[in-house]
Every structure is written in C-alpha cells, then in structure tokens.
C-alpha cells in the first residue's frame, strides 16, 4: 500500500498554522476583554502569530517540488478555486501580513505600528476572521479528501480548530512567561481557557474515533491503528495523556490554586499542549488509509 504522500513538512505546517492562528485569537481576546491585566499575554500572542504562520507556510512551500525549484509556478496556485489549497493560499497571503501588522500595532513597533495602532480594532476584527479561516482551513484541507475516508468528515475541521485554540493559547502563555515571569499569577486566569479547549478537543477526538469505527471499513481501520494498532503507543501517550489529560488536570489545579502553582508546572502544561497538538497532526496524517479498491 502506498505511503502518505505528505510527510513532516505538511504536518509541521498544519501544526504551526493552527498554533499561530490560535495565538492571534488569544491575543485579540486578551486585548479586547482584559486589556489592563493581560497585557503581556496579548503581546506574546500577537508577536508569535505572524512568525509561526509564516514558518508554517515556508514548510508548505518547501514541500512543493517543481513549485519550489521554479518558484514562478506558484502564481498558478490560485488557478482552481474548487481546490482548498487555492483558498489556503489566498487566506494565508492576507493573514500573514495582517498578523505582522497587528503585532507591530499592539507592541508599537516602528512607525508602522504607530500608524496601525489607530486601526487596532479593525485589524482585530479582520485578523480574527482570517485566523479562524486559517485554523479551520487546515482541517478542511484534509476533510475534503475522499481518497482517505478517515479524514473525510466534518469533525476534522472542528478538531483542528479546537487544537489550534489550545495550542495557540499555550504559545501565548509561554510567550507571556518569557516576556514577564511575574505574570505567572495572572496566567492562572487563562488556565480556564485551556480547560475548555482541551475538553472540546478531547470530546471531538473521541467522537471522531467512535464514528470512524462504524462509518466505513477504511475509516475503522485508521481508527484501529490509532487506538490499538501500531500507532496506538504514540496516540495514547502523546495525544491523549501528554497532550490532553495531564495539561487538563494541571490547568484545573492552576485555575483553582490561583498562581500558587510552581512556575515550571504552568509553563510545562503549555509545552505538553504543544507536544500533543503536533502529535495529533502527525498521527492523523499517518493513520490515513485509502479505500479498499480490489
């Protein structure tokens, strides 16, 4: 059976685009809802969003072959609007500049930032729509592929969206801790966000597995490789325990302890969320199987 045509570059892209979009939404939410006490989190999120999505997009371009050696071929990438990649190219090429301008505006970097600051709310509204589009699109990209029945479900964008939110919030929280470690107390307020996003992610992942087991023979085979097959050690350890359960419990503790939790546990929980998010993408790509045709 042929292996998946996509490998680590695409997986990294799916992860970084999701995390970057999530970090952008986290930054906007902090700036709009609690501008006074979540300043460092908003700053960290906005500073991370653009570079993460840009690096992810670079991975996407590196995965091209003829389009990489003969870059002018990339102008054809919007040639067929029935293709999700064409939409992805459009969304990314608008979102990346907006994310960078937003970071400049929120952190007042150079004259660009000072000018853009006047339009901060506009940037937040347009940027949030594009961030949701970016995170959702990474899921739709594989959800429209009927060549891989396991991916071919509308739960996929929902799962990727939930994972993008939790990984994005994790990026923003780690960034906030780097910018100003004293905000670690404040961060415990955002642990509630992790609790919600991780709960949704776990629920949707459970639904995806359950439904796949009965949907078709091929989807069931993919789900089986995850829960009991050769990918199951990675699935249970990296995605379920490390990526969802441990950070979920830590976030609940963090929320109720209100800043009394050791610093390394707060940041550690966020790092685990990132490990889980990356592993989730990798395992979904590698567990995909084509229909049984003969």
């Amino acid at each position: 059976m042929p292996e998946s045509a996509w490998g680590w570059l695409i997986i990294t892209y799916l992860f970084l685009a999701g995390a970057g979009a999530g970090a952008f939404i986290s930054a906007v939410a902090c700036d709009l809802l609690a501008p006074d006490w979540s300043r460092s989190l908003a700053r960290a999120g906005s500073l991370a969003a653009g570079p993460l999505v840009a690096i992810g997009t670079a991975c996407l371009v590196l995965d091209l072959e003829a389009g990489l050696w003969e870059p002018w071929r990339q102008i054809y990438l919007v040639g067929n609007l029935r293709s999700m990649i064409a939409w992805g190219v459009i969304i990314l090429s608008v979102f990346i500049p907006i994310a960078f301008i937003y970071a400049a505006a929120l952190n007042e970097i150079t004259f660009v930032g000072r000018i853009a600051k006047k339009y901060l709310l506009h940037l937040e509204i347009v940027g949030s729509v594009l961030a949701v589009a970016t995170a959702g699109y990474t899921g739709v990209l594989i959800a429209v592929i009927n060549g891989v029945p396991f991916w071919n479900t509308s739960l996929m964008p929902v799962l990727f969206m939930a994972s993008a939110m939790s990984t994005g919030l994790a990026v923003a929280m780690i960034g906030a801790a780097i910018i100003d470690i004293r905000t670690i107390k404040t961060l415990s307020n955002f642990a509630l966000g992790h609790v919600i996003f991780l709960a949704v992610e776990g629920l949707v992942l459970g639904l995806l597995i359950f439904i796949s087991l009965t949907r078709s023979a091929e989807a069931a085979a993919s789900a089986q490789t995850l829960i009991s097959g050769n990918l199951s050690p990675y699935f249970w350890s990296l995605v379920v325990v490390v990526g969802i359960l441990i950070p979920f419990v830590l976030s609940i503790v963090e929320y109720y302890e209100y800043g009394e939790m050791p610093k390394y546990l707060v940041v550690g929980a966020d790092l685990l969320v990132l490990v889980g998010g990356m592993s989730l993408r990798a395992l979904i790509i590698y567990s995909g199987q084509p229909p049984q045709i003969v």
Binding site: E65, Y76, G79, N146, G147, I293
Partner: protein, 180 residues
C-alpha cells in the same frame, strides 16, 4: 468526440506484468515507478480457491477527485475524457495523490511533478491503442469508445455487465472490470 475507456477481463489475466513493463517503456519510467500495477488476490478456501490478478491503472474518472483538488488546475480532462497533467503548471503539492481514492498517481521526483497514466493519448490520437492494451498476450484489456454502442468495449461491458472498481465512490471511473 469519443469518450475513451478500457474494459479489463481479470479472468484472462495471468499476472505476467507485460502491461506494466510496456507502460514503463512507453513513458520512459524507471523500474520503481509505474502507472499501472497488478494486485494479486486469493479467493475462496482450500480446496476450492483461485487466484485473481487485478490490473490497476488510473480510472480516468468523470468526476475526478484529483482534478477537483488541484490548486493550479494542472490536472484536467481532455476532450476525449482522458485525465491529464499539465507538466508546465504542476507545482508538485501532492494534494491529488492524497485525493485519489484509487492511489494511481505517482510523483516524478526528477521533474518535481505528479505523473500518471495518460491512456497513451499520443498513440491513441494517431489511431493506435494504449501500450498496455496492445502488449497484453492474453488480451485482458479492451480499449475503445464508451459512447459508441457498437464498439467492442461497449458490447463487452453490456454482455458481461462489467463494473468499475468501487463505483460507490461516485467518481465515475472509465475503466470497467469483468471479474468472474
């Protein structure tokens, strides 16, 4: 315009792989690359069992998933109903390889583009037949116009009720199989 297709009689296939080699010759493919392949299947249980050889190639689907997902529009269907790749605009994103349910597309890493069965369209346009069809020593494949009810292929399909593989995937394949 004709609408070309191929009918495959697996009961005649002896698994000699001549079609694969002829195809590789015709398309200058290296040994490890192939546009068609033969899958071997065992049917039944001892003592009443048999082996079936199923030659596979691009199905030239009417509603081709590879064409739908191709961002550059490099994958297109010719007037004759043959799914082709424009070598000038393909960027090598491999989305079509993922999208093809029959997994019949392959990557030419030398040129950096996706390549596939072209139903030997250059031979066909000169009045010939695809290399896999003309090479087959047991005449497993029948090439012809699906829109012409008097063509050999149309009569074969009607007579044997030949079916595409996994017609339930709704891609409208143009390769038909008689398997028993």
């Amino acid at each position: 315009m004709p609408r070309y297709g191929i009918a495959i009689d697996t009961t005649k296939c002896i698994g000699c792989h001549a079609c694969r080699v002829a195809c590789q010759n015709q398309n200058d493919l290296p040994v490890h690359e192939e546009f068609n392949r033969i899958v071997e299947r065992e049917r039944g249980v001892f003592p009443s069992f048999s082996k079936e050889f199923v030659p596979l190639q691009c199905n030239h689907c009417k509603d081709a998933p590879c064409e739908r997902v191709c961002p550059t529009g490099a994958t297109y269907t010719s007037d004759e109903g043959v799914v082709l790749v424009n070598t000038k605009t393909c960027v090598g994103c491999k989305y079509c390889i993922e999208a093809c349910p029959y997994k019949m597309r392959t990557m030419d890493h030398g040129k950096g583009i996706v390549v596939k069965c072209r139903m030997c369209i250059e031979l066909v346009r000169e009045g010939g037949t695809p290399a896999c069809v003309s090479t087959c020593p047991t005449q497993v494949r029948i090439f012809g116009d699906l829109d012409d009810p008097t063509s050999e292929i149309s009569r074969f399909i009607a007579e044997h009720r030949a079916q595409p593989l996994r017609a339930d995937l709704n891609t409208g394949p143009r390769i038909y199989y008689k398997r028993s």
